[in-house]
Symmetry: C2
Subunit: 199 residues, 2 copies
């Protein structure tokens, strides 16, 4: 039991060290040696937990996304209508953007690595498709309940994901350029207004 706890702690230290190093100096410039040094583990310890730097990288992404999934599910659970639920998801997105810009920087690295590496590509694009799909289903329910207008729900889902991705990217590149959390909330509001059923 103690051994397992220590293993969990080592794993968590490796992940935290990798997040810090990748955010500071980028994925390519971060070596397994750097991560081991920052985490205070041996190379053997590293490879006991992760087969490769790439596998660790993919695991970081997937662990964030599964936390995000839970939060998105919770925040909208008791909303009375689909537009209300989308607005709450926008508010959550705004908070995340304001609080996690250090972590989000790694996302940018994922997207670039994805352009060159099929395994990372799979891990980076699968969530986009999943969010597009969930949003399309949600917008479809909005059309059914009569709060949203007859748009192509698949396209609307892709538009919302694109907006989110673009806001993440812009807030990373130009953190001082705006109050990005506010821009997220307002953008989602405008988009939801565009989808709402008229009169």
């Amino acid at each position: 039991m103690k051994t397992q706890m220590r293993a969990e702690q080592t794993r968590a230290r490796i992940i935290a060290a990798a997040e810090g190093s990748i955010a500071r100096q980028g994925y390519d410039a971060t070596s397994v040696d750097d991560i081991c040094r920052a985490a205070g583990v041996t190379k053997g310890g590293f490879y006991h937990h992760f087969p490769s730097k790439q596998a660790l990288f993919v695991e970081i992404l997937e662990s964030w996304l599964s936390k995000l999934d839970v939060s998105l599910e919770e925040v909208g659970a008791d909303a009375a209508t689909v537009p209300e639920r989308l607005l709450r998801m926008g508010q959550l997105g705004g908070h995340i953007l304001n609080q996690r810009s250090g972590q989000l920087r790694i996302l940018l690295e994922f997207w670039v690595q994805a352009a060159h590496d099929p395994t990372v590509w799979e891990a980076a694009t699968a969530p986009f498709r999943r969010y597009q799909q969930s949003l399309a289903v949600l917008i479809g329910s909005g059309i059914d309940e009569g709060t949203l207008e007859g748009v192509d729900s698949r396209v609307a889902g892709q538009a919302i994901v694109s907006l989110g991705v673009g806001l993440i990217l812009q807030s990373l590149l130009d953190p001082q350029g705006s109050d990005w959390g506010h821009v997220v909330q307002e953008s989602v509001r405008v988009l939801v207004d565009g989808l709402r059923r008229r009169g």
Copy 2:
């Protein structure tokens, strides 16, 4: 005269070779040697035209953007209203996304380099701010002419730029994931509907 023409041709060959190589293998992996080999110029010839690989990189970005500026200006010049003008800009954006995905891939490289390199950062973020600003002015005119509702025009400008950036990124990462040109047009339409003045 002939010498100047030859110089222009060499410059154009260097730019084309760099665009190809960066799009295929990324900015970091592309050396000045690679570019010279692909362009059929000597290293001396390269440095006669560009002080560094970075300077060439920045010039590629700026030359695209100035062409884009002209096209965006032209496409909306005779639109009767601001919403109409925004929709036409969306259509143009859709065409560009469908036709230039090879070139656009370099944009992704710019954004990543920008996170590590202050000169590239300046060249990569300045256009975002400029487009945000122009769109804010345009949306302001729409509010004045009574076709758009009283939104914060600055935030609306940032939302539109974010949507564009996100669509570029998603179409690059997942070209088979959708008819992205269509998604661009539809997204802009939904966003413009969200900004429109109600009845």
